[in-house]
Homo-oligomer: 311 residues x 4
C-alpha cells in the first residue's frame, strides 16, 4: 500500500527499531532508569494522591460496541457468605471473579496491539501474535512502569473546559501546555495529555457516543514531538487516543502505528485526569510521581490499570 508522504517522513524520523538492541520488546520505556525514578520521588511535595482509573463494572463501563468484543467488565460471585464453620452462620467467606477485555477501560496498549506492513515494533513479524497471545511485545514485558509524570493540560492551556470535538492536538498545543505548567519534559517522563473529553462521562450527562466520537486527540505531528522529547509513555483522557475520525482518509489509526510500531511508545487511554488537573491548577505544580504498572498478564495485548499520581 502506498503511504502518504507526510506520514512516511515522520515514520522515518521517529523510528526506534534497533535503538535498544535487536531483542528489545519495551521500546521507549527503556528511558525510565533509576535517575528517572529518583526524579519521580523528588517531585512529591504535598503528598496528595490521585487514582486515575475508571470504575470497573458492567453498568459503569464505557464501551458502547464500537470495537466488537471489547466488552465491559463483568464480575460474578464464586461464593456468597459460604460457611467455613459447622455453624453455617458463624464464619463465612465470599469471593468473586471478573471477566474483561484488557482494553475496556483505563489501560495501556501493549506494543503488540497493532502491526503494519506485517511488522510489529522492532521488526518482529505480525505473525508472532497468535491465538496464544503476543509472543513478542506482550504487556508483561514492561515490568514496573513508574516515573515522573507530567500533566499537559491542553484544554486549560487553550482556555477551554474540553477541546472541540475532533480537535487535532498540535505540537504547539503541547508547548502551550508546557508553558501553562511551567514544566520542561525530561527524557523518561510519562506524559498525560488532558483534553477534557471525560466531561461526557459525568453521571448527569453520560453520553458514551459523544465520549467516543468525534474525539479530540493526538496526531502524527505530536508523535514527532514525543520522539524529540524522549517521552517514555503517553496517555490521554479519551477512548481512541488519537484524533478521531482521522484527518488521514487512507490511513487507519496512524498515531497508533507511529507510537506502537515505529517508536515502541506505550500508550494509554481513558485516564481520569480532571481531579488531578484541578489540583495542578490550584498549586501550579504539573509534575508528580506516577505509577502505572501493568498487571503481569503473560503475552497480553493490553492491561487494565488504576494508575496513581502523588504530588
Amino acid at each position: 500500500m502506498p503511504v502518504p508522504a507526510a506520514f512516511a517522513d515522520i515514520a522515518a524520523r521517529v523510528r526506534n527499531w534497533g535503538r535498544w538492541g535487536p531483542d528489545d520488546e519495551v521500546g521507549t520505556l527503556n528511558l525510565v532508569d533509576s535517575e528517572a525514578r529518583r526524579r519521580a520521588a523528588a517531585s512529591v511535595v504535598s503528598g496528595r494522591a490521585f487514582a486515575l482509573g475508571l470504575p470497573l463494572s458492567q453498568s459503569e463501563g464505557i464501551q458502547s460496541g464500537l470495537v466488537p468484543g471489547r466488552d465491559n467488565p463483568s464480575r460474578t460471585m464464586i461464593h456468597v457468605n459460604d460457611p467455613l464453620s459447622p455453624d453455617p452462620e458463624w464464619i463465612c467467606s465470599s469471593e468473586d471473579k471478573v471477566t474483561m477485555a484488557t482494553q475496556c477501560a483505563t489501560h495501556w496498549d501493549a506494543l503488540a496491539h497493532v502491526s503494519y506492513g506485517g511488522m510489529l515494533y522492532n521488526g518482529y513479524p505480525a505473525s508472532s501474535v497468535t491465538e496464544a497471545g503476543a509472543a513478542r511485545c506482550g504487556i508483561h514485558r514492561l515490568g514496573a512502569v513508574l516515573s515522573r509524570g507530567v500533566l499537559l493540560d491542553v484544554a486549560r492551556a487553550l482556555g477551554r473546559d474540553v477541546l472541540e470535538p475532533g480537535h487535532p492536538i498540535s505540537p504547539g498545543d503541547l508547548d502551550a501546555a508546557c508553558e501553562l505548567g511551567r514544566v520542561a519534559i525530561e527524557p523518561g517522563d510519562i506524559v498525560l495529555v488532558r483534553t477534557g473529553q471525560m466531561v461526557h462521562l459525568a453521571p448527569e450527562r453520560r453520553d458514551l457516543i459523544a465520549y467516543t466520537w468525534p474525539s479530540p486527540g493526538l496526531t502524527i505531528e505530536t508523535a514527532e514531538w514525543f520522539h524529540t522529547h524522549d517521552v517514555a509513555a503517553v496517555a490521554t483522557d479519551t477512548l481512541v487516543f488519537e484524533v478521531f475520525p482521522s484527518p488521514h482518509e487512507d490511513l487507519y489509526l496512524p498515531v497508533h502505528l507511529l507510537h506502537l510500531v515505529e517508536m515502541g511508545l506505550t500508550q494509554g487511554q481513558n485516564f481520569v485526569l480532571d481531579p488531578l488537573a484541578e489540583d495542578c491548577a490550584d498549586d501550579g505544580r504539573y509534575t508528580f510521581l506516577l505509577d502505572a504498572t501493568p498487571l503481569r498478564l503473560t503475552d497480553a495485548l493490553g492491561t487494565p490499570l488504576n494508575p496513581v499520581a502523588v504530588k
Copy 2:
C-alpha cells in the same frame, strides 16, 4: 458459638470499629495520610524498582483447587491480526480479554471477604454481601494504596532460606526482622512479611501443594503486634496468609477474622518478595515507596495486583 478466650481477648484489644466513624469502609488504610506518602517518597534513594506480582496465566497459575472456584487466569483472543485496512495484510489489530478470580494470584483481600457472627468490619451486616457483590467494604473503596513499605524478612532474621512448614510467626519474629532491617515501624506503613515460601514456586521445583500447605504464616499474636504499631496493611509471600493448618482447631482462619473483621486491616497474599529481599540484604535498607493500588473493581471482594517497590 463459643470463642476461645485467647482469641476473644485479642479481638477485644484490636477492634477498630468506630475508630474512623460509623461510615468507614477502609479501616487501617485511614492511617495513610499525606505525611505517610511523603515519607514513602523520602525513602527512595537508589531508584531501583521491583514489581511484586506473580505472572497471570493459566499455565503459571498457583491455584491447585484447594479453594473451589478460585480459578487461575484465563486469557483468550478477541482479535488476532484483524485487518483495519482494505488490504488485509497492511494494518492489523489484535486484542484479548481475561477471566480470573480476584484472589487467584498476587492480591489484596477486600475487608468484605470474610465475616463472623454475622458481621463485617465496622459492624456492617454480612448480608450486605450478595450476588451483586459487596455493598460495603468492597475493594474499590480503597482508592490509592501507596505508602512507605517495610520488608520484615522473618526468614533471614531467623537464619533460614524459608521458614519451617507450619511455622507460626511470633511477635518476637517480627521484632527480630525489625532488628535485622534496623527499622522502626511508623503509623501508616505497609508491612511485607517474608517467609521464603515461594521457594516452592521456583520453575525447577514447582510444587503447588508444598506452597499451599502446610505453610508458615501470621498468627493471632502478630495481629496484635500490627495493631500496636498502627500498620496500614500487611502482605506475605504465602497463599493462605496465616499459618496453616491453624493451631486453633475450633476457629477457621482466625487471623483473617482479626485483620479483616476486627481491625479493618487490608491483607495481601502471594507477593513476590525474594528479589526485593536480596536487594535489601545487599544495601541494608528495608524501607521503600510501595504502590499496591487495587484495580477499581466496583463492589469486588478482592483485586489482582502487581505492586511496585522503589528503593
Copy 3:
C-alpha cells in the same frame, strides 16, 4: 529629599511593612515554610553538590578599597605545633583566629545594613543601629536559611558569557532566564541571578576593578518582579549587587533601599555561580536545595557564607 516618581511608585507597591506583623525582623524569609523546605529536598535528584563561597584569605580577597574599612579576611595563628605533652615533639596542637568584614566576600546583607528617611525595614528607626550593632534586623534573626534555590542564568539566557558592563537587568531578562531554565518561581524560593561577572576573578585575568565597576546588576524594576513572585531572598555573582553606577543619579543604591528597607528582602553578593551554572546547562535542571544559613552573629550587619546547592 524628593524621591524620583518611578522609585516612589515601585516603593509603594513592594512595601511589606506590617505584612508579617509589627514585630517582624526577617521580612520575605517568612515565606520559607516547611512546604518550601520539603520542595527543596524534593528537588534533589543527582545528588551533586556545589559550594558557592569565595575563598577567605588576604591574598584571595576581592575588596579593592572601594568601601573603606571593608577589609579582606586576615587569619593569624594562635598556636603553631604547640606541645601538649612533656615531650615537645610528640603531641602538638595548632589553632588560629580570623578577622574579616562581614560583607567582605560571599555574604548576606542584614536587613539593617541600610536605612532611608530614618527608617529600617518594618519602620524600625535607623537609630536602632549603634556602635553595639543592629538592635533590630540583625543577621542572627534569620535562623536557618534553606529553601529551594533557582538559578536564573541571565547571561546564558541572553547568549553571553558575561553581561555587558553596566547592563541593567530587566524583568524581561529574568523571564528569559526562567524560560531558559524551564522553571516557575514558587513563593519562598531563593533566587540566584547569574551575570557572569566573576570572569574578572579568574586567576589568569584577575581584575578587581573590572569586577567591581562598572557592573551589570539588578534594578528597581526587578525588585518589583521579585515582589510579584514572592521570592524569599536573592543573590548575585557581583560585588555591588545592583547595577553600578546607578542609572538614577539622585538615588544611592536604590535597589538596596527597595529590597532591604521596603521589602525586607535579604540579599546576597559574590556568590560563585559559574560551576553550578555549567551543571544546570548540562542537565537542564535549574532548581536545587540551597542552604545559605548565616553564622549566628548577634546583632551583626551581615554574615560571611559558604552556601551549598545540591541538585
Copy 4:
C-alpha cells in the same frame, strides 16, 4: 614516647592513611558521595528545620580561658549610619567586622588541628603547619559537608537529662542510642552525639566551668565504633569533644589523635542539640538532612559553623 597498648591497638585498626590515596586531605568525608546526599534529601519528611550553632558574640561566648588565645567573638562597627547621600539623614549604611578564634564556638576542627609523632593525617609532616597556616589538611579542603545526619541521643538512651560529669561514652552507649532512634548508621552518615551537657549554658544557670570540665565525652573505644560504621564526621554538644579529664593519664586528647590523625575523621564541638533532640523524641525520627559546610577559610585550622538540620 611509649604509647599505651590499648591505644596503639585501636590506632592500628582505625588508621585510614592511604585509603583514599597518598594525596588525600579530607579523610572520612570521602564517604559522602552523591548517594549519601540523595539519602540526606530523602530523609526530609516534615520540613522542620533546626539551626545548631551557638550565638557568636563576646557576651554570649563560651570560652572561659582554658585554651589560651581561643578568644570569644568580638564584633566592631566599621560604619554606623554613615550617610550615602548629600543629606546626611536621608540614605545611610552600617557595616561591621568580626574577630574570632576559628574554634571558639560551634565549629569543626580541621584535620591539621593536632599531630603526633610529627605527623598529621595521611602521613603529612606536622611541619606543614606554619605561621602561614595549614598547607595540608586545612579546613577549606572539605568543600560542601552535607549528608544524612543521625542524632545519637546518648543522654536520653540512658534515661538522663545530661550524662554524669566525666561519663566516658562506650560503644554500648552508642548502640543504645541507635536502638532508641531505631536507626542504622550507613556509610557516609554524619553522627551527632548528644550528652545533654549544654544544660550548663542555659541562661538561668550559665556555668562555663561546669560546661567545660569535667565533661562526658567520646572515648578511644567509640573511635573504633565510628570506624566500623564508616561514619563521615562526628560532632557533640560539649567543648572538649572527648571525655575530660582523660582516663589515660599519659596521653593527651587521645580521641583527637585517633580521629584527626589516624582516621582523618572531621570532628565538631559545641553543636546545639537540645531542640533537635526534643523534636526527634516527639516524632521518633532521628535522621535528617544535615548541612555543616565550613566557611572557605584558606589553610585554616578550624571553622565557625551554624549547621542546619532539616527533618
